[in-house]
């Protein structure tokens, strides 16, 4: 490869880098756009008091999650409250955080905790699991603060 060719290639590389930077900086503004169907519970601030948090409700009716399985998006450090009501006795398990709560037709399962682990966590119904159904009833998505 000749000297000129080398310079041309390095020049092309710099051009690509500049274009990439322009694209990345102009497109980077709407990171939190969120996909459709996700509930947006961006409870920022991270106060320890669970009382301030918006409550997420999940209803299980007739072996189905009303409105389908959805994502619960929160920021790390925020207080999370999730209430799962079920028309049959059930045990609801939040993986990773490893919290298990009982739900009965009269008394829903209530989760109240601080989202201190980042990642995506499956919330499962043991009744679904035992029936051989897909066990997930919701996904907790904890983004970095």
């Amino acid at each position: 490869m000749s000297r000129n060719q080398r310079f041309a290639l390095v020049g092309a590389a710099i051009a690509v880098a500049v274009i990439a930077f322009v694209i990345a900086s102009s497109g980077g503004g709407d990171d939190n756009g969120g996909s459709t169907g996700n509930s947006q519970t961006q409870t920022t601030g991270g106060g320890g008091s669970a009382g301030q948090a918006q409550v997420e409700r999940i209803d299980i009716v007739g072996d189905e999650v009303k409105g389908g399985v959805r994502n619960i998006d929160v920021t790390k450090g925020s207080a999370v409250r999730i209430v799962v009501s079920a028309d049959k006795p059930d045990t609801i398990h939040l993986h990773g955080y490893d919290i298990e709560k009982e739900a009965t037709p009269d008394k829903p399962a209530r989760f109240a905790f601080t989202a201190d682990i980042e990642g995506v966590f499956e919330m499962e119904s043991h009744t679904f699991e035992d029936a051989g159904l897909e066990a997930g009833v919701a996904k907790l998505v904890v983004e970095p603060s």
């Binding site: 290639l9 990439a20 990773g96 490893d98 980042e118 966590f121 897909e134 998505v141 904890v142």
Partner: protein, 454 residues
Amino acid sequence: MIPIAHGLVSRADLPIPEWLFGWAAAMVLVVSFVALAVLWPEPKLQREQWFPLFGGRRLITRPVEIVCGAIGVFLFGLVVYSGLKGSQNAQANFAPTFIYVIFWVGLVPASVLFGDILRAFNPWRAIGRTVAWIARAVARTDLPPPLEYPRGLGRWPAAAGIFAYATLELVSSSNDSPESLAIATLLYSAATFVAMALYGVEAWSARGEAFSVYFNLFSRLSPFEAREGVIGVRQPLSGLPGLTELPGTVALLCVMIGSTTFDGAAEAEPWTSIAPRLSDFFQDRGLSLKDALEATFAVGLVGGILFVASLYWIGSLGAKSVGGGFTTTRLARTFVHSLVPISLAYIGAHYLTFLVFNGQSIVFLASDPLGDGSNLFGTANHQIDYGVLGSSPTWYLQVGLVVAGHVAALTLAHDRALALYPQPRLAVLSQYWMLAVMVGFTSLALFLLSQANV
């Protein structure tokens, strides 16, 4: 209807943010162009230089070999025993975590850093050698020589073995059953011992035994290599060009990259839309739900492997089209060693947090391997600390691994092209095609990282 990969995973990674995806993809292109401009014009890596350490003293002596082999056999026995006799809860049993996390994933970075560790601890090799030694001692004469390893067989048994393993992990519905894992381990061991008896312990370990071959590939990226018991160092990346060209190697690498691709793709679109339809299709053909799901995942796994294979094949066809008189097969075999760092990047990016988080389980499982409440070392109540690696460092590590794998692959392919083509012009032209293949693999890896889970 997508079960999470296996019963061990209770947390999944956040996808890398869009801006990081964009930057990483741009980096890959920049690096590729710069590489074309500045990489050396004469082959540099083809002759492996190896320098002995510790004054060339033999450190891996017979007693060291015996101790390491005994440790390997002990762990092997513990896996089988826990799987058969222990709790059948995947997270409370030693076997699934040891096989899936410590052995399958953990040995990859260990081999890259420290060399061919499995060779020292390999339980099948240790048992095979011991049996041969006892047989010699009893017979008081040399055993009849083993059959010659058929040249056409090459690394095909290893490719088949890794495919079988991937099927067990990613397709089988009993993939988190400790008992099934123990039985699979025993079946694999039986097949291995038969093959060792036929072809000899060393020949089978070098070419046929899937895990020996698999981890040996990664150990070739290591600066360390033991020769005749002497530990030495070599130039980075100079271990892979020495990989002997054998049939089945391309298939092995395609299985390796393809199965990781499928494991990553199985968590995200478009697969999460395709899978339920496929599963319905199989159920309409009379399969039970469980069989239909397995059939669906089998299609996905084979699809992932074929996708990777066709991408590589297109690159080899392209390289052939520039001239030089090499067949496509010859080119595919000649450049296949450059896919090893790509495979490493896929594994690193995809299983990084699985290793860092689920690997911690081994601390409490070591104290309570059967899940029966025992506490041998006082660590049975240890828990996984998810705080050790946050999302941002995870993203940078994942992307860094993918880009580093890309650079290593480019370098290896470039060096091989210089050695292969008598005319430098053809070497450069052929590398446009290989570069396109690498950019394809790397973009796919980044895409999978940006899609995962959500």
